[in-house]
Symmetry: C2
């Protein structure tokens, strides 16, 4: 019974997600659904990416959080459109809340819309938001076993960003084990090894992202 | 509508949780529900705790994982009873799966039963498993803003264990901010500042845990 209910919820979510996807396609807006554990570095990644790509690209952000607008506050200085969705305990965003949030953006003046999903490796990967693609962010301090233990997200992601590479020397994280785990699940997904605080490796991410935007135009 | 369905699920979960709680109470078994983000260090905490407390206490473990039995494998060397619950995509354990798992333990020969919940700061905090109490584990590398951003767990927890204190020098984690955030939500909850890999601070955790077990006897 619970599975059936879940299926209905997912079906309704999927229908609305297709609506969102069609709308964004017609407006030439690329929406990226960023998913990670709590504290893996999604907001810091957005800060770095805005520093590099604003105003080259017209960027907007939807901030999904259970409560508080702390992440949005960290992005305020870029003077870009930001909408906060507080899920009030909900463990993921869904396409209906995204659809509503889109009403607050001027989609004709946007190239790129980042969705920072609720910090959770599991539930967000099951809900299509109408995004162009999912970006999985994972940090070295979470351990090298995350792709194997949370395969759904790593299977769905169009790109994987491994953050906090600067902390590898202080942990038992093995890049070899991580990659082997990841490649078992998603053999060809682009992997960016970066430190969002130090900046190492981010150029490859910016370049790849720029190419995705150009290709979508 | 979705809220009503959710309420039914939670009601059914709560009823079974009370059954589990009564059973464990009658058997003098203290069950601890360990909840954290992916990779915060739950399994490493269990390894350290078993090294210290086996065979002084008779310990069992229920390992909740989406897939794989990797965490259970790490505990095999202690030769203690372990049951793995694979949720097959599910984002939390519930009291019905715990109730079934209990059938595999000899409860008359157990003092302490650890439940390592699925790595997720959100959903597990909403499902009572019939535990004596919830232990929140959070690591410094996740950032100092986790209590404020994920208040449910930190409100519910009877103890909070802050792991990876050895990595503080390499991050922008502020212990002052973390404590202020935590104390806003749960003013008097015991806080253990530890490094599960290095061992710092764990003695206070062992001592406190021993006292809880003695008090419950």
């Amino acid at each position: 019974m619970e599975i059936k209910i879940m299926k209905n919820i997912l079906d309704r979510n999927q229908n609305k997600a297709e609506e969102v996807r069609n709308l964004l396609f017609s407006k030439n807006v690329m929406m990226i659904n960023i998913i990670s554990s709590p504290g893996a570095g999604k907001t810091t990644l957005l800060e770095r990416t805005c520093e590099e790509l604003v105003p080259k690209f017209r960027i907007g952000v939807i901030e999904g959080d259970i409560t508080t607008d702390r992440d949005a506050m960290r992005l305020k200085r870029f003077n870009i459109p930001i909408v906060v969705i507080n899920t009030e305990g909900g463990c993921h965003l869904d396409s209906h809340s995204i659809s509503k949030a889109l009403g607050s953006f001027d989609l004709d003046n946007l190239d790129l819309l980042f969705v920072e999903n609720v910090g959770n490796l599991i539930c967000p990967s099951q809900f299509d938001l109408g995004e162009a693609f999912k970006l999985a962010v994972v940090s070295t301090t979470e351990g090298d076993d995350k792709p194997g233990k949370y395969p759904m997200l790593f299977r769905e992601a169009k790109a994987v960003l491994l953050n906090k590479t600067d902390l590898i020397p202080y942990t038992n994280f093995s890049l070899v084990n991580f990659k082997s785990d990841l490649r078992n699940i998603n053999p060809h997904v682009p992997l960016f090894e970066v430190s969002c605080t130090g900046g190492e490796g981010l150029k490859e991410w910016y370049d790849w992202l720029g190419k995705q935007i150009d290709a979508a135009r």
